[in-house]
Structures are given as C-alpha cells and as structure tokens.
Symmetry: C2
Subunit: 461 residues, 2 copies
Amino acid sequence: MFLIGLSPDIVYHSLLATEPNPEAAPLVLAGVLVSLVFIYLASKLGGELSQLANLPPVLGELVGGVIVGVSALHLLVFPETGAVAGDSVVVTILQQIAGLSPESSSEVFASFSEVVSVLAELGVIILLFEIGLESDLRELQKVGSRAAIVAVVGVVVPFVAGTAGLMLIFGMPTIPAVFAGAALTATSIGITSKVLSELGQLKSTEGQIIVGAAVIDDVLGIIVLAVVASLAKTGEVDVTNLIYLIISATAFLLGSIFLGKFFNKSFVAIAEKLQTRGNLVIPALTFAFSMAFLANVIHLEAILGAFAAGLVLDETDKRKELDQQILPIADILVPIFFVSVGARVDLSVLNPTSAVNRQGLVIAAFLIVVAIIGKVITGWAVFGKEKVNRLAIGIGMIPRGEVGLVFAGIGAASGVLDKPLQAAIIIMVILTTFIAPPLLRFAFQGEEEADKADLATANNQ
Amino acid sequence: MFLIGLSPDIVYHSLLATEPNPEAAPLVLAGVLVSLVFIYLASKLGGELSQLANLPPVLGELVGGVIVGVSALHLLVFPETGAVAGDSVVVTILQQIAGLSPESSSEVFASFSEVVSVLAELGVIILLFEIGLESDLRELQKVGSRAAIVAVVGVVVPFVAGTAGLMLIFGMPTIPAVFAGAALTATSIGITSKVLSELGQLKSTEGQIIVGAAVIDDVLGIIVLAVVASLAKTGEVDVTNLIYLIISATAFLLGSIFLGKFFNKSFVAIAEKLQTRGNLVIPALTFAFSMAFLANVIHLEAILGAFAAGLVLDETDKRKELDQQILPIADILVPIFFVSVGARVDLSVLNPTSAVNRQGLVIAAFLIVVAIIGKVITGWAVFGKEKVNRLAIGIGMIPRGEVGLVFAGIGAASGVLDKPLQAAIIIMVILTTFIAPPLLRFAFQGEEEADKADLATANNQ
C-alpha cells in the first residue's frame, strides 16, 4: 500500500533492497533542496542589505547565516554543533509535508546535513581556487618575504601576549592559557580574501601581502594546533610528527608551484584538444580537486591545495576564459560556505544572565583586545621602501572565522578548556570575524589618511 | 597523540564532541574529492572518445561510468546496488594513504556515496532546468497534443505487447508479466534530451515533440508504477491514491506554467535590483530548487519541477544571460549524473555461463524487440500536416535509462520478479539506453532518407 504515490527515486534507491532505509533517499534530496533554498535566501538578503549599508556583502552572508542558524530561526542546524533532528525546521517541514516518519528523522537529518556540510566545503575549495586564479604568482613571490614576516609576527605576538596575559592577569594554569593563546593565532583566509576581492583590492600589494600571509598563517596554524593539541593530550610535543608536518607543508606548497610550471603547458594542450562541453572547466576542477585531496591526505587543509591549483592555472593563457566559467560555479557554492559558518555560530554564549558567560565575557574582552592589536601591528612589521597601507594589512589578518572555531572545538573535545574560557574563545572568534570586513573596507577607503598616520608614526619613532 | 597532524577540519567537525565519529568528517570530503576526480576523468575520456567516433558524448559518459563502476574497475560503487566498503577502490585509497581505519570504513563509505548520489541528483535537476531553459513553451504548447499521443502510444503499445507476449509465449503468471510490461513503458528524459541538445535538435519540431512526450511519459510512468506496485503488493489498485496522483501531477505542471507567467516579471525585477555577485543565478536556482522540492513532496519527480522552472524562466528577458551562467554549472554537475547511471549498471547479468542469465537473455531478447518496436512506432502516431522525422521521434523515446532501473528495483524489492525476469529487464534497460544515442544521431543525419522511407510507408498504407 505505501508504495502508491512514491516517486521512482525511492525505489531506485532501494534497488536490490540492500539500502537500510529506502524511504530515506528522496527525503535526503528534499532536505538538501530546502536547505539550499534557505541558504540562498539568507545569503542574498544578507548580502544585499550589507551592500546597501555600504558594508562587504560577505558580512551580510555571515549574519544571514546566524539568523537562519542555531542562534535564531533553526532553519539550518548541524549535528556537529549538538543539534538533533527535532531542532531542525527542515526536518519539521519534511515531517509535515513530505511524509517523513519520526523514526527516520535522525537518519535523514544526519544525511542531508552531511551533504550540505560537504557542499559548504566544496564551496570554500572553489573560493580558494578562484582566489588562486585571481592571485598572481609573480606578485606573491615578490611580496613573499614580507608576507612571511606578517604571518610570523601575527602568530607570535597574539600567542605570547594572550598566553602571558591569561597566566599573569587571570591566574590561569599553563596548558589552558597556551591553548587559548594558540587560538588567537589563526587567520581565516576565506573571509579575508573574499572581502579583498569584493573591494577590488586582491591584486594590490596590500591584498597580495594579506593573502600570502594568510596562506602561511594557515600552515603555521596547523603546526601550532598540532603542537598544542599534543601538549594538551600528553603533556609533551611529538617532535617526529611535528617535523613531518613542517616538511610536508613546505614541500607541498613549493613543489606544487614548481611542478605547476610544467603542468601549465599540458593543461592548455589538453583543454585545446578536448571538443566536448566542459573542455576547460572539467580539467581545471579535476586538477583543483586532486590537489585539494592531496593536501587533505597529507594533513594540510584541502583549501590550500585548491589555492595552489588556482595559482598554477593562473599562469596559463586560458586564465580569463577559466575565470569567467568559475564565476557562476563559485556564485552558487561559496554562499553555502559563508551561510554555514554563520549558522554554526551560537550566540547564546553572549547571554550575560549565565554566570559562566559573564566570566567568559570578561576573558573575552581581554582576548579580543589581544586578538585585534596582535594582528593590527603586523602591518608595521612590513619592511621595504614601497609605501603600503599598513593598517589595511593588519586589519586583513584579524578575522579568525572557521579556523578559530577549530581551536574552540579541539579545546572542548580534549577537556583542556573550562566553560568560561571556551565561551571567551568563541566570542573572540565571532567578534573578530564580524568586525574585520567593515574595518577592512574602512581601512582601504581611508587609504590616504592611513598613509599619513603611517608616516606620522614613522616620524615619531 | 592521534591529534598531532590532524587537519583542523577534523576538529571543527568534532566541535562540542557530539559527532559520533570525528575522524570521519575530513575523510568524507576526501572520498567525495577522489570520487569526483574519477567521475570527471571517466566522463571526459568517454565523452571525447565517443565524439571522435562520431557518437553522442553522453554515450561515452555512460560507458565511462560502466568502466569505473560496479562492472569493472570499482572506482565508483554505491551501497544501493549492494556494494560494501570493501568493494570500493576509493575506500581502499583512503585506507592506504589517508589513514582511514577499517572500523570507520563503512560509515565513511556510506557518507561519501550519499553525497555523490545527491550531487548526481542535483546534476540531473540542473540538466532538466537547462533543458527547460532551452525549450520553448509556445513551441511545446504547439506540439502538445502530438507529444501526448506519442507518449500514450509509447506507454500502451509496449505495455500490452510485453505483457501479452510474456504470458502467451513464455507462459508467465499475470502479475510478473504485467510488471515487466510496465517496465517497458518508461522513457529516460535525461538521456534523450541530452542527446538532442548535443545534436542541436532540441528546438526542432521533432526535438520538442520528444521532450514533451518524455515529460508526459515521466508522469505516466509514475502513475503506471504506482498502479503496478500496488497491484503487486496487495493484488488490487488503490484508486484514491491513483486519482490524487493524476490530479496533483496535472495541477503541478499546468499550475506552475500558469503561475510562472506572473512570476516571470517579478524574477526579472528581482534580478535587476540585486547588486551583489550571483544576482541572476542565485534567484534562478532558488526558484528551480523550490520547484524541484515541491515536485518531490507531491510524489512527482524533482526533475519535473526543475524542468517547469526552466520553462518559466525561458520566457524572461534574462534568458540568454542565464543560459550562459548555467552552462558551466551544468558542465560540472551533469557528468556526475551520467557517470553514476553507468556506474550502477551491473554487466554481470550478461554473463551466459549462469543458467539464470541464459534464461534471462532469452526473455531479454523478446523484451528488447518489444521495447524498441513499441517506441519506434510512436513516431507514426504523430498526426498533423507538418512533415516530421517520424523515425527520429520514435528512436528518441527508446532509452529507458535510470527510469527503467526503478522498475527493476521495485520488482526486486517486492519479490514479484524472479531472477531471470529481473536480469532480462536490466539487460533491456542497458541495451535500450546505450543503443538510443547512436541511433538518434543516425536518424537525424539520415533525415532525408528517413523522410523518403516515411513517405514510402505512407504510400504503402
């Protein structure tokens, strides 16, 4: 009886009857479709309002995500942040109008959330591929040493100041203090590069220094995370793994760029030989996904592989054509990432009626000051005779974004961080993420004023 | 210790430690990335070779799918077709180089396969959206009654001839014979429309009749399936549900086109007001996904909703711009669908050393003859004074594709079909799917000859 009126999809998925739950499959698709509709509505509403307010659209997408996410409407919630099927409005919709049974709800919720999560990850992979395509390898090499300085200063200063402050001012034990200090080191390359791109500043010297520094920072962040996590878990550092990580990260980035110079020509030759649809975009994504996979398996981040792939293909004659074709693909995938980041942010840590949160808010205030100052000063670490917008560089390094959440997550999982410190780190991540886009626009708008201030500082020294 | 060297993704996903298996998440992404690389390689190799052999590229993508799929290399296998983690080369790769533990293998395999399945479904949704955009509503309305005749004849003739033949020639009982007869009625709109598009024949009268008939056939197929499945399960037909299905399908298609005429103007107005990236493609996909969801929840197929959305937006001034932006999106998503269809085909049913298969092959030979003749003659059901390529229309209706597999699947699940009959239906599906693209190209190439033959037939009658 129940088969009457079922769409063929249902049956297709139960082919040979080995699927644990044949009812689930078309509902997973339905769940993904509704989630995407909510994500697109949130991203466009947020992005457009942000644009009208003369703020970077990506900020609006993040806020749109917060509104549809776990903090407000519950249209988009994820099992990883503790949500269950009953918390998801999408599940409720499927139960009300698509005949989802309560027994299958958890399974369907887990499945479509997983798909949306992977789509978001593909989104940030495409974003970094696009940023790689828009970046100029020669320009990056030119700013390489300056970017490295910015990255190193931006890791060392917040780490030392944060750890010392927590121990001296708040009297915290070493390990949680070190952990929270480490959480201050990250920079979200996704958010920063998206804002730069929106401001048309990606190809400026400042833009290239920021992107270069953010890439190096991502690698440094992975190393810091490994050290701190091992310290938190065993009380000592696993040196062998540490060396492996440093060598593989360096080898990957340099190797992929070096080998890329040879691959360039084969890529163009292949794309020109292919005659069927997608002759350019399919080989390009095959390369990008392979590199992302490679980065992923050597324990780097997939997005670093995609960025390297974009850098390599930027050097080819096909660049412009490829840029244009990646554009709509990025347009539909990237918002999934930003809205998801926003949706995972739980604003309830800001509620001051809870004692834990009040304690957290005080620590958070300290962490935020260190987080902002520790990154803003990196701009003044830039050497060279060329006049650069030092304030913009420093501000570009501020957002912790999803990388910061990683530290909060590992801290929660390993039990190193008590509740107030956890809340403080999350508040710091939220604030730095949301404050950086408008500040960055301001820093570039007030370019002349900043330069004057810069000169004044230099004269005072 | 194990945290050293883990990518932040891992930890991000274990945020708050509620994820059942934090190790799994980045490996799911890795599995999706490798699967996509295999899919793209298979689709491009197959598509290009097919093109070189002067065959439609989509045939090559299907064959490429068969080669990477369950029948040969096992690079792409799906749990729904009975594969377990140990059958998947992707799982082996993840175990060898990405540190996937044997305990997590099943979970990771299920998760990344689910994501790839949904990506394939999004691929066919985008394909039908694109076909809708390329189709002309006025042209479709003009051919509407002729398309309806083709669809009805193409359902009735194979159903009656197949059922009668199986009962009279092979002495089968009524219910399995009716079921196998029903499996002969389907037409895969995906494969047919893709070939038409590749041949540049989508906008021809023949192309529009075929697409229109395939859409109607899809709706009829869902109704036939519902009737047969209920017959197989309870021995009688649930009339209430049947009426609901017929009314909702008709209301959906007509209603969406009617309402679409009003929505058109709002869509253009919205797209023109939006100033951020994706101002055209995001509203378009929001609409397409909403319609696909709506179709899905009223137990139609999601692809019918996407097709209706494309038809509606085809009427707007933004059409050309939208066409161009959907192109690369379709280029990266559609091959996932065709390669997946190929990958799910199990060619072992063709192995004549098994007695069941030998029996199946004999029945298959009969089914194939009915399947081809029953659809080819639909071309001659087309009335009107306009001269049309009747052979091409008939051939366009031949491929059963994924829709045929649905019938095999439901038959296997409900126990109505014995092994030889199951195998026979699958063989019929494979052959009609793979034979149609080259035949269709031939029919359009030999257009003049076909017209002559057509005239000769007409004169003989």
